[in-house]
Amino acid sequence: MPRLAGEPLVDDRTLRTTPLNRAHRAAGARMVPFAGWDMPVQYTGVLDEHMAVRTQAGMFDVSHMGEIEVRGPEAQALLQHVTSNDVSRLTAGKIQYTALTTPDGTFVDDLLIYERGDGDYLLVVNAGNAAKDFDWLRYHAKGFEVRVEDVSDGYFQIALQGPKAEAILQPLTTTALGGIKYYAFERGEVAGAPCLVSRTGYTGEDGFELYGPAEAAEKVWYALLAAGAPHGLVPAGLAARDTLRLEAKMALYGNDIDETTSVLEADLAWIVKLEKGDFLGRDALVRQKTEGLTRKLVGFETEGRAVARHGYPALAEGAAVGTVTSGTFSPYLKKNIGLAYLPIALATPGTRFSVEIRGRAEAAVVVPTPFYKRAR
């Protein structure tokens, strides 16, 4: 058994820790290095944690995520310039999923933008990209009347996800959760700590993401655990977060999207608003739309037991035609699923192709996505 894939050799002493590190270790979590952070990959087991989120509730420490404030009279103008979605459609209390784009229409990062008020935005970005995004924003902010500030260190972030999330959280807050719609947020108190309560998530379930001051992280974590225990709430790690997001076909930066994949190729046309005016990468995206895409990110299933994983070649008639970007055994569907970039001619559901797994061509078929969609 060689060193496990996905666990690079790192000097543990250089890893950053979230304000909940002590809580994870006390709970016996298995800790791994992730994007420079010492993070819980699982507590009891990925399958149990995954199913708890689908059927009851799970909570994740996602304090490693980066938070960047963009404020000032021209904050909206800057964000319109550097992202592909239309920031002008946001109003105070609403959230938007979008991409920070390169001039090629590819991803600097994918992120959420929270509008807290006029000219006051909070950007929530991937941990591994936080420094890059901050530099990118600062660079492009020249000439705009705006202040860009990395406030990541001050925040904890806890994701409470699953059908029981609202029932668990409501007794701990004065905020009326029923009034918060999907992709909206309110400021409130959770277990006595001032928090931003956001109806968002990365699992395909209903749920909340809570942002609050780092020093209150443990208090909120333990209050949620206690309130959630009767509802079947369990702490869940990065492994379950990955299988959950993949079943819901939510992209993972570094796996499915990066600086070489365009927002349109990633099948995220709904966050590309070409009519909003000029923005970085617009010309490239217009060209792709006009000329037609050559490849697209699609969902697939494999029939065999072997799992198609990130980087495995996709084959058609014996030739490499694309690449698998994510793959896993789906704990909910009990079959092997994945995402791959395939030529447009092969991107239609029902199309058969192969994935090369350890030298063998394993049968695969393009399927509609998301793989999992919760009942509403």
Binding site: M1, A5, G45, V46, L47, A306, P331
Partner: protein
């Protein structure tokens, strides 16, 4: 936790010898590192392997890992029950979660493997 009746490799396989037959599996430490196991690719019965050859593959939800032959020999039997219940390795790595049996080609190779104390030291357990 780590049985004294067998030998170990630095790659976290165990070897239990009875006569000329060596039963092979992965250690409890290894199964815990892998997490929930969903598939085991077993070797073909009758195949001859040298120490260090890839015997098979174990897939957990989050990772894939190869199983190396700790010693040389011919595959005499595989644990076919793992086809339906690969998670047996998670629950009983040293017992029902065995992977295959080899007929030893060079019994002396076993002596070169780690004993339980050395493996305990390696894994800090």
């Amino acid at each position: 936790m780590i049985p004294n009746d067998r030998r170990y490799t630095k790659e976290h396989e165990w070897v239990a010898v009875a006569g000329s037959t060596a039963t092979i599996g992965i250690t409890d430490f290894a199964q815990a590192e892998l997490g929930d196991i969903v598939y085991v690719e077993l070797p073909e019965v009758g195949r001859s392997v040298s120490a260090g050859d890839v015997l098979g593959t174990i897939e957990s939800v989050k990772a894939v890992s190869e199983i190396y032959a700790p010693v040389s020999g011919k595959v005499a039997e595989v644990n076919a029950a793992l086809g339906q219940k690969p998670e047996t390795i998670n629950t009983d790595a040293y017992g029902a979660g065995w992977i295959c049996k080899l007929t030893l080609a060079q019994p002396g190779e076993v002596e070169a493997l780690l004993d339980a104390d050395a493996y305990r030291a390696l894994t800090g357990s």
